[in-house]
């Protein structure tokens, strides 16, 4: 599903160059659930942003679902991101002035679906996370856990094959974190590939594989369970 070969990413200012990723190698198979851990500043988020086509890289190769993304322009990358990748963020990143229905609608709009198709998908995604009855509520009217479930619904509505989660439980209490994690596991069990950055060792252990990033490189990989 994902193959990175010797990816390097350098952030440059006038005074300093920061090597966020150094000859970073990683492969993620289809249907796998991989957690990424590492200390702050180790390059976890940079890896996630490059994997999600939100950042470009300085050197190396990146194949997403067999496609070499280095040669794609912004429009093609956006299209690929829209069709194949779902994002879940630590701070949910729901659009505060849109109700839940319209929030879930956002990626579908850029996909070019008809109104009827969008409505069907939105309702299904919200039902899936148990919030269909609150479709007309604003995010501010929900708890943190509920907001994260909406974010998951938004990520799932386009039926992506690859889900990137950046500390999705970081802002949640343990009960809500467990519920969100169970939801992600359920999604993974249905075949969606998930890469999740987390600081929580107990959550990291629940994935099939955990990789540790230190100083922009994969320092350790642990196979924790068999892929589904």
């Amino acid at each position: 599903m994902l193959r990175m070969n010797k990816i390097s990413k350098v952030f440059s200012t006038d005074l300093i160059e920061t090597h966020a990723l150094r000859e970073f190698d990683l492969g993620v198979a289809e249907g796998e659930f991989v957690t990424v851990t590492g200390p702050s500043g180790s390059g976890k988020t940079t890896f996630l942003n490059i994997a999600g086509l939100l950042e470009t890289f300085n050197s190396g190769e990146y194949f997403l679902d067999g496609e070499d993304v280095a040669s794609l322009n912004d429009r093609q990358r956006s299209q690929l991101r829209n069709q194949k990748i779902g994002f879940i963020f630590q701070s949910f990143n729901l659009i505060p002035d849109l109700d839940l229905f319209d929030n879930v609608d956002v990626p579908l709009r850029y996909r070019g679906f008809s109104a009827a198709e969008r409505k069907k998908r939105i309702n299904y995604a919200l039902e899936r996370v148990g919030l269909a009855a609150r479709a007309k509520h604003l995010p501010s009217q929900l708890s943190g856990g509920q907001q994260q479930r909406v974010a998951i619904a938004r990520a799932l509505a386009g039926e992506p094959r690859f889900l990137l989660a950046d500390e999705p439980t970081g802002n949640l209490d343990s009960l809500m974190a467990r519920q969100v994690m169970e939801l992600l596991e359920e999604i993974n069990s249905e075949g969606t590939t998930i890469v999740m950055v987390t600081h929580d060792p107990s959550l990291a252990r629940r994935a099939q594989r955990n990789i540790q990033i230190i100083d922009g490189q994969v320092s350790d990989q642990q196979q924790l369970a068999q892929a589904v």
Binding site: T45, R75, S78, N82, N93, G158
Partner: protein, 440 residues
């Protein structure tokens, strides 16, 4: 996607009402000021003669003595003519349509019950050709007959408004009424619908943009008989003793204009040759003794420019108003940046969810366009108020917002706002989404 962008834009405008209102007002003030000046300028720049512009010519003569090196306008011609010269030009009997013009004020007596005589009406002495040359449209009757230009008769052509004021709503052709001294009777030969070209190019000596056109036209052949003093500018290059109207007629004072219709180059050349001969003839009679005696003809467009109907000040004002628009737009750029910076996070989320830079750019440009559209509408309202003030200030009836200016204002507003919005929209779409996604 356009309707989706419109929906988002409307939502964003409602979310930030104060900032949006400031942007709308910044655009509106610039559009209002510039459209006021552009509308006024356009009205002044209008040449109402249309396709007759190149045919109708004002005649000028450098009719002054040796005492003066030059006199009149910058080219050494006075704008008006002496009565002697007008009389001579009329009597030259050339085959070209022509007419002298001068304005007078008159008392008119209404025949309607309870309506007091009024001295508010302006009249002009003209020849019969005036009506065809200046395309006066008749409602009833027509000009007086050709013979009246030679053998004066108390016939007049009056406006529909004056006809109704005197007689009520009837066809007044053939009816008589009292004017000038309030006793002298005049017969109506024709009634015209409306004749008040703006600017009043046929006679610029009494104002460029009169609110009312002439109410009555009387045969020029009556001038010497009626002894009616002119309204408007009278000037002379030498002091002369004038004790009555007859003295003015014989004087070197200039106070009338003379128009001739020359349909082609041959006619123009012929008329210039005629003027040359006329000047020579007058020199032999002791007139036109200056160093450079000559005659000239100017077509309508030249005549309007020559009389500076559009002054340099007006051009400067248009330039200033466009600069003001620019200042307003620069302010709008700052306000838009402030407005859009608040939306960086949302733009980042949208980028993460699959929006391309182009889609984000389009979305924000639609919002700017919507603000520009509202700014244009408010600007049109301000321009209407500005033009009303111009009309009140200058006592003219010109400078109104017509359909083309209405559309022009909206297009200008849209264009200006889109140009204004390019930088803020680029800032939003080119921002790195990952920064905002993590930072939120």
């Amino acid at each position: 996607m356009f309707t989706y962008y419109c929906k988002l834009a409307w939502r964003h405008i409602l979310q930030t009402p104060a900032l949006s209102l400031l942007i709308i007002m910044a655009i509106a003030l610039g559009i209002g000021a510039s459209m006021t000046m552009i509308s006024y300028y356009k009205a002044m720049a209008h040449n109402p003669a249309g396709d007759r512009s190149e045919k109708l010519h004002a005649v000028q003569l450098a009719a002054y003595g040796n005492d003066m090196e030059t006199w009149g306008m910058s080219d050494g011609f006075p704008r008006q003519l002496t009565h002697q010269d007008v009389k001579n030009l009329r009597e030259a009997n050339l085959s070209f349509p022509s007419t002298p013009i001068y304005q007078f004020m008159t008392v008119v007596v209404s025949q309607r019950e309870g309506v007091a005589p009024s001295n508010d009406f302006a009249g002009r002495f003209v020849d019969r050709d005036f009506f065809s040359m200046f395309d006066v449209k008749f409602l009833h009757g027509g000009p007086w007959s050709q013979s009246v230009d030679e053998q004066p008769e108390n016939q007049v052509v009056i406006s529909k408004a004056l006809s109704e004021w005197i007689f009520g709503e009837v066809n007044s052709v053939g009816k008589t009424f009292a004017m000038l001294d309030g006793i002298m009777q005049f017969t109506v030969a024709g009634v015209y619908e409306d004749f008040n070209p703006q600017p009043a190019y046929y006679d610029l000596t009494t104002g460029y943009f009169p609110r009312e056109g002439a109410g009555v036209f009387a045969p020029y052949s009556l001038v010497e008989q009626l002894e009616t003093f002119p309204m408007g500018n009278i000037s002379g290059w030498q002091p002369e003793e004038v004790n009555g109207f007859k003295d003015i007629l014989k004087s070197e004072y200039v106070w009338q204009v003379f128009w001739t219709q020359l349909d082609n180059e041959a006619a123009k050349a012929q008329y210039k040759e005629f003027l040359k001969g006329y000047v020579e003839q007058q020199r032999e009679l002791g007139r036109f003794a200056n160093q450079n005696p000559r005659g000239d003809i100017k077509d309508v467009e030249t005549w309007l420019n020559y009389n500076e109907v559009i002054s340099e000040d007006n051009r400067v004002m248009v330039g200033m108003s466009l600069l003001f628009l620019l200042v307003c737009l620069v302010n709008a750029v700052g306000l838009l940046l402030a407005k859009f910076m608040r939306k960086m996070n949302e733009a980042g989320v949208r980028r993460a969810l699959g929006a391309s830079k182009g889609q984000i750019f389009s979305q924000y440009l639609v919002e700017v366009g919507m603000l520009g559209f509202f700014g244009g509408l408010v600007g049109l309202l301000l321009a209407s108020i500005g033009l009303w003030a111009v009309r009140e200030l200058y006592g003219t009836d010109i400078a109104r917002l017509d359909f083309s200016l209405f559309i022009g204002a909206l297009l200008l507003s849209l264009l200006a706002s889109l140009l204004t919005g390019i930088l803020p929209a680029l800032r939003v779409c080119n921002s790195n989404p990952s920064i905002f996604l993590k930072a939120q």
